[in-house]
Point group: C2
Chain length 198, copies 2
DNA sequence: GCAGATAGTAATTGATTACTTACTTGTATG
DNA sequence: CATACAAGTAAGTAATCAATTACTATCTGC
């Protein structure tokens, strides 16, 4: 009777992907806090209860969103440039572009609420960030062996690079203090690079 | 009958200060999300309704907490060192100490929830951060005129310094990835400084 | 074409939480 | 000492929201 037409009926797999997309869009538009199962359903043209046909609970939704983000961000870390410093610049600029395209990511990652509500997801995020720093450090050490960076600075340099990414993400996605982080990227990376080799 | 003894009765001014302290402690222990008026009251040995004798609503509580943080952080920006780079180092290390002492600050400031729920407070935080960057930049320009920094880098250098503070605050207060940011401070500042003067 | 299985609805539930209201007690002051 | 006010209680309210339940329509494989 008041049922949606047949075309509205999709597989659970499709709906799961759709929910992830809707959550990313809603987080970008209205923030992480605003995301309720009712709002997700409304965006999809479904009723609130239908959401729970595709995910057992809200934590599972966040987990799927996190998986999606990890997949996308993970692609950024596949080696492209031969020279390690070029590779670091590519990743840095890629991060800026990602933050710009998906403000939901920093908003989710910076959400204290999120980390307290879902300890398992908190651990995932922490491991992701820690892994990123390790990757930076190994690239910097590679640069050191090639004579492009002076020795003994790789740990601090990796921390500085990672922290500056996070700080810019905060200023962009949370504070709306910088409209497009991509514009700041090249200048900032150049400055960071100057403290590597001198 | 079940009333608290006379000693428990205090002035509203005292209670306001007490509520701010309790909120800071609760945010440090259990995160920003966990803070409810019932929990605040419990910590003070009062009933939940009593909280609203001292603040008209929850936004006013957050506003008072923010005022307290601004007062404390503001003190950090009073000029102490003669040489601008020393002054920058003092502020940087002071920030690390503040983050360590009051994890509630980054948790509040990074909270997307907070910024969406209270636009007026969001603006205050944004202005605080923007002001901090301006202050950094003017100190760096001062260093430039004294020949301690090469020209044309003040804006990027200020952004890099501020962003690295914010990134470390995130790693410390949200991710629990670094136990004591004060230990990382000197090394990071030294690295940042090296890119000022080349 | 029929028998599951599955995606959907509609309504409800139970927990949480900011805020209110009516009343009570302590305290300072003239 | 009386009294007015300020700080507190106790109970309740209205709204929100994740999750459940009982039922229904649609698709798919045999």
């Amino acid at each position: 009777m008041a049922y949606a037409p047949a075309s509205h009926r999709r597989t659970s797999e499709d709906r799961q992907q759709e929910i992830v997309e809707v959550v990313l869009a809603l987080a970008a538009e209205r923030g992480v806090e605003a995301i309720t199962t009712a709002l997700i359903a409304e965006r999809m043209g479904l009723t609130q209860g239908a959401v729970f046909r595709h995910f057992p609970n809200k934590e599972a939704i966040w987990s799927a969103v996190l998986d999606w983000l990890k997949l996308r961000l993970g692609a950024l870390f596949e080696r492209v440039e031969a020279r390690p410093v070029d590779e670091l610049e590519r990743i840095f600029l890629g991060y800026m572009a990602f933050i710009h395209a998906y403000p939901a990511m920093p908003r989710l990652v910076f959400s204290d609420t999120f980390h307290h509500a879902y300890p398992a997801l908190h651990t995932q995020v922490r491991d992701m960030v820690a892994g990123c720093e390790v990757h930076f450090r190994s690239l910097i050490e590679e640069a050191t062996t090639e004579g492009e960076a002076i020795p003994g600075r790789s740990a601090a340099a990796a921390t500085l690079l990672l922290a500056s990414i996070q700080g810019l993400a905060f200023q962009s996605a949370i504070l709306n203090l910088v409209d497009d982080p991509r514009l700041r990227g090249p200048q900032l990376f150049a400055l960071w690079r100057s403290c590597l080799s001198r």
